[in-house]
Symmetry: C2
Subunit: 345 residues, 2 copies
């Protein structure tokens, strides 16, 4: 009766014994901490390699750090988020940190569950992407662990933020459509009632940018907003409503690419040709938008840069939790494609 037995994991003690030093010494080498001579470092590193030792993050977490960063994504299906994620992982690739994603957060309860789970696992920092939780909850999270909030305007003394200038983005698009000769430019927004969110969420900022741009172009009379939701279904319904208008708009600026997809579907169904009969534009420059046969005019948010900045700020905050919070605001760019053209004569 001699089972091969679970080969016990090699620990810091094994390394110390093998290198003939103390565990303290090994720990110092692992963390590049002060108090280890070059010879000792070499000796320990050799032992680590020979034994194939890897520190157990869970145990490290009990005293120090877990070298783990959590990222919360509201919707994994939204093709814009992978861009941000790439920016984050690229920035972190040469550090000791490892990123994990908390999935499926499409409501306040789920967000709370995921963020709590991250805190309970001793993660060293977390990045929240477009969270919908109330501000107070975000502050509570941030006071427990270094936090960066992405894609939500309005700042706080306890967390850093990275946003894209949605007002400018919306202006770019309205300007583009106006340049093409459109006057009746409609907008489909995500319906929002909560006052904080109206001030902080990107969707509200886009609608606001649309309004401002229309006014500054002297098109205040033509402002026409439909409130649905940032989903394909929302776009479909919004388009239906716009089609029912006595004076149909000549261009529809959807607040997100996914919404524009629904709009395109409704227009296809109605037998309208895009952009011949009506122009359509989105926001986010997702894979959908760049896909040839669709070729949707959109606004690019530089997701990669957003993610990179978020990761950088988080590392800085982990290094110094007391540092003054920073707000990074990036500028979007217009990506004209084939769904926008001058209005029909």
């Amino acid at each position: 009766m001699e089972p091969p037995a679970q080969p016990r994991r090699v620990t810091i003690v094994d390394v110390a014994r093998h290198a003939q030093v103390s565990t303290t010494a090994v720990s110092k080498v692992l963390r590049n901490a002060y108090g280890a001579s070059p010879e000792m470092r070499a000796k320990v590193r050799r032992a680590i390699d020979e034994l194939g030792y890897r520190p157990l993050a869970a145990a490290r977490g009990l005293r120090g750090q877990t070298y783990t960063i959590g990222v919360m994504l509201p919707d994994i299906r939204n093709p814009f988020f992978p861009e941000i994620l790439d920016g984050i992982t690229d920035r972190l690739t040469d550090t000791d940190y490892q990123v994990f994603l908390g999935p499926g957060c499409n409501g306040e309860k789920e967000e709370a569950r995921v963020t709590e789970a991250m805190i309970d696992r001793g993660m060293d920092g977390i990045i929240l992407i477009a969270p919908i939780s109330p501000r107070a909850h975000l502050q509570r999270i941030a006071s427990a662990v270094p936090t960066v909030v992405v894609g939500r305007h309005g700042h706080s003394p306890v967390y850093d933020t990275v946003t894209d200038d949605d007002v400018t983005g919306a202006s770019l698009m309205v300007g583009h459509l106006a340049d093409l000769g459109h006057r009746r430019i409609a907008h489909i927004e995500h319906h929002e009632t909560d006052p904080t969110r109206i001030a902080e969420m990107p969707n509200a900022q886009r609608a606001d940018g649309y309004r401002r741009a229309m006014r500054s172009l002297g098109l205040a009379e033509e402002i026409d907003i439909v409130s649905t939701s940032y989903t394909q279904q929302g776009g479909y319904e919004g388009a239906k409503k716009l089609l029912a208008r006595p004076r149909r708009p000549t261009a529809v600026f959807a607040g997100a690419d996914i919404v524009a997809m629904g709009v395109l579907e409704a227009f296809t169904e109605a037998g309208l040709s895009v952009p011949g009969d009506i122009s359509v534009a989105g926001y986010d420059n997702t894979t959908f938008a760049s896909f040839g046969p669709i070729s949707l005019t959109s606004v690019d948010q530089a997701g990669h840069e957003i993610g990179g900045n978020a990761a950088r700020l988080l590392l800085e905050r982990i290094a110094d939790r007391k540092k003054a919070p920073v707000q990074v605001k990036l500028s979007p760019t217009l990506v004209p494609r084939r769904t926008t053209a001058p209005p029909p004569a």
Copy 2:
């Protein structure tokens, strides 16, 4: 000088003191372990609620479990994977387990990094989705931690697998096209050289299913496979090659929806109408496929069920690491849409 100080986290000791019991008792209640009377449970639970106590997963991991499950996704952009993920999280939603995703694994090195990170964090089990690592590496992972491999054929004594029957799926599609009257049905596959992968990866199985179905329909002469990659670019290039054939196929069966996207793009560019001039079909039934204006005929893999089964098997294996490995094979269904029609007369 009296800073508000980081309010120290509530620990099991605090709960024990507040409820006037031992920490052992609290631990038993937390884990629903044997040896606690109903009164004691009630008392402890009340204390937990009053103090807002949440156990620290990192500390639990040192002795017992971390209640954490890791999921490795090869490509977060592939719209098929969220389906699987939903299946997993739905199955786990009422348990104490929390899922975290390891992002960005598009190579063997990255896969190794992510799986090691999961093991080092003491995760209780991991689900690998369509991993490309060599079989030996998968076995090493599985011997360190309960593992379920999804979307990879061929089984092992140390891990469970969940797959979809890709051979059947390909047959369904070929049958559908043949029923419409097509004979020159081409296939675009993901190029593969590694012999193990040829046997185990879904792409190879699909190509194999295509060949078999063609033969059994008496179309052996018409077998025509282009080897590129499962990307949009791969589909684009594959389509170009097929267009250059002396006798052009009347239908193209792409091994994945994303490939079919590239095919559609190439055909649009070439001025061909789909399905008037040529039929196109994909595989995976992604959001792309179901999107109205595209409406791609595809094969549905029941991603939700795949994920649910994977989670179930993992829980079973966590409960009993010695149990015999299980292979679950699910059946795909055909989803005919508007990109397939009878060949031109």
